[in-house]
């Protein structure tokens, strides 16, 4: 059971970070479908900086910085120039895929996968003297991811800027007419999402594993988008969606071992999420009409 929990937490952490970013954008009224590419870019830059500096933490810092900058590619067109964020996201996702693979060849001289004994991965909590046996051997970014959800929930609900961000997402004109700078907040949200994806990518490439592999975000950004759609503006619900998804996935692996076809295991997280959604919606429906 502990191993299961640990596996779920590890697998979920990068998704949670990306989803949190997407949620901030959603709260501010920007639909962010660029998470997949940003996660990948974060993973790549994390490995790059870790490799260059020999420090995993500098790798994390580099990923956060670089991915925030990368998010400008979404924020400037979508917020300042009023381009459709979905189309822009399609473009930046493709760009991230090409750019990471291209730079990998240019910088590391190899295609496919880059890993090296010199590449510094994130230490485990235990190595830092913060062992929590319950959670298994996790990188420090895993608890950070979950703490950030709590922080975001508090920030959105209890602070001045959080309140304003919520207002902007609900009714931009109203926000403008009381003198709030809507685009400023939206830029901040999109760039913040970039930073979070950078963190998520770093966790993926230096925490979950210690390597970079072409396209290694492997749909995690899309799962995060689904979580955002389900959660609306509620961080805890987003976290719940991510955990449910992660648990269903981990369960799928275990059932595969018992003979469940791969395709069923692939489908399981989606089916379970949808079923959960249906059950919740039906219960809510009954409550109001019954």
């Amino acid at each position: 059971m502990n191993a299961f929990l640990a596996a779920v937490l590890t697998a979920t952490a990068p998704v949670v970070l990306a989803a949190l970013g997407g949620l901030l954008c959603s709260v501010s009224g920007v639909f962010n479908m660029a998470l997949e590419g940003q996660l990948l870019w974060g993973a790549f830059t994390a490995v790059l900086f870790s490799h260059l500096t020999g420090s995993a933490w500098l790798g994390v810092a580099g990923a956060v910085l670089c991915t925030t900058v990368y998010a400008l590619l979404l924020s400037v067109p979508a917020v300042s120039l009023r381009a459709d964020p979905v189309v822009v996201a399609v473009g930046t996702n493709l760009l991230a895929l090409g750019l990471t693979a291209f730079l990998m060849r240019q910088i590391f001289g190899s295609g496919g996968t880059f890993s090296s004994p010199e590449l510094a991965g994130l230490p485990t909590l235990a190595a830092l003297g913060l062992d929590v046996p319950m959670l298994g051997p996790q990188s420090p970014l895993v608890p950070v991811a979950f703490l950030l959800v709590a922080a975001a929930a508090w920030w959105l609900g209890r602070t001045r800027s959080g309140l304003r961000l919520r207002g902007i997402g609900q009714h931009a004109e109203a926000a403008e007419s009381i003198g709030l700078r809507v685009s400023g907040y939206r830029h901040a949200a999109v760039l913040g999402a970039g930073a979070l994806c950078g963190l998520g990518g770093a966790q993926l490439a230096l925490g979950n594993v210690t390597l970079f592999s072409e396209g290694m975000s492997a749909g995690r950004g899309w799962v995060a988008v689904v979580a955002v759609m389900l959660a609306g503006a509620r961080p805890w619900l987003g976290l719940g969606a991510c955990l449910l998804f992660g648990a269903a996935e981990a369960l799928g692996f275990r059932l595969q071992g018992l003979g469940l076809p791969q395709q069923a295991a692939d489908a399981a997280p989606y089916v379970i999420t949808l079923l959960a959604l249906v059950v919740v919606a039906a219960a809510r429906r009954k409550e109001t009409t019954g």
Partner: protein, 315 residues
């Protein structure tokens, strides 16, 4: 217009983007090397889907190179027709062979199941728990050549051995090291002490999981022992580059046609335990001479036909 170069040229068409696929990487390397040797230029056409395979093949035919190389089963349909329509053009199919083989189509295929069997023998001898696992990219028939014989080999030396395959699947099965690692962890968590990797870009994740759990792993296609020193026992090798470049040279020399099957006998597949540089390979099997001896014996049995390894594709 960069029309067909006046000299010799080789065009290699892949069925998918090369990306993290070590097999495709190797086939590119082999063709490139052969082209250099025969003084030909080399071009790589990466395909994205069946239609783009056909489009690339069309373009290749227009370019009139010395040889057009198509990699994998994905060319079975096209190579059943196109070579007949283009009798002047030489074709080489790697890893499979189209039906009703035309005279101008040369095929190279591999008995990777024989090598996987040998790896299984090593695993059966070295496993303490008797529980083995494989993490493969997807559940396709071809991939079973690395799974079923691996377990069969283990059983041949350790009757109580059991094997569990897990498939990475998901959105990007060939390059999801985190997921592959998680699956390897699932296997080690269930008591497996040896996990073979057949997950392309995910292999390194498998090695990491094995290392963290104190288990051992197998690599695939090329020597991956150095990727995680002390963890990788051995690799299921497939010398695509060697076989491919031999075939290309043959074709260039006018010896075209036929199917060349590379098994243990021909040295087209193998494991590092059988290689001359075992000591420097970094593979942990080097530390178990008795295992290496057994592997050599089984190899000889297979070559001599005393042991036949079932091919999951036909069997």
């Amino acid at each position: 217009q960069p029309a067909a170069s006046p000299g010799k040229s080789v065009i290699l068409i892949t069925p998918n983007p090369v990306g993290t696929n070590s097999f495709l990487q190797l086939s590119v390397k082999g063709a490139e090397a052969a082209a250099k040797e025969i003084g030909a230029s080399f071009k790589l056409y990466e395909s994205k889907d069946p239609t783009s395979i056909a489009q690339n093949l069309d373009a290749a035919v227009r370019a009139k190179p010395t040889v057009i190389v198509g990699v994998s089963f994905s060319f079975d349909d096209l190579f059943a027709t196109v070579p007949k329509q283009q009798p002047q053009q030489q074709f080489l199919q790697v890893d499979s062979c189209a039906k009703d083989q035309a005279a101008n189509l040369t095929c190279v295929s591999f008995k990777e199941h024989e090598a996987a069997y040998l790896a299984g023998v090593e695993a059966g001898l070295l496993s303490k728990s008797g529980k083995l696992g494989v993490v493969a990219a997807i559940d396709s028939p071809f991939v079973h050549r690395w799974i079923d014989p691996f377990f069969a080999g283990a059983k041949s030396v350790n009757a109580g051995a059991t094997g569990t395959p897990l498939y990475v699947g998901g959105n990007n099965p060939f390059s999801d090291p985190a997921r592959a690692k998680s699956q390897a962890q699932t296997l080690t968590g269930q008591g497996a002490d040896i996990v073979a990797a057949a997950a392309s870009g995910g292999n390194q994740g498998v090695f990491e999981a094995a290392a963290a759990a104190g288990a051992k792993a197998f690599g695939v296609d090329v020597n991956q022992c150095a990727q995680r020193a002390g963890t990788v026992i051995d690799n299921v090798l497939k010398h695509v580059d060697v076989a491919e470049s031999a075939a290309l040279k043959d074709i260039a020399a006018g010896k075209a046609g036929g199917v060349k099957v590379y098994g243990l006998k021909e040295g087209g597949v193998g494991v590092n335990a059988l290689a001359g540089d075992l000591a420097s390979s970094g593979c942990t099997v080097a530390a178990s001479p008795e295992v290496v001896a057994k592997v050599k014996q089984v190899r000889d049995d297979i070559v001599a036909g005393r042991v036949t390894v079932a091919d999951p594709l036909t069997g």
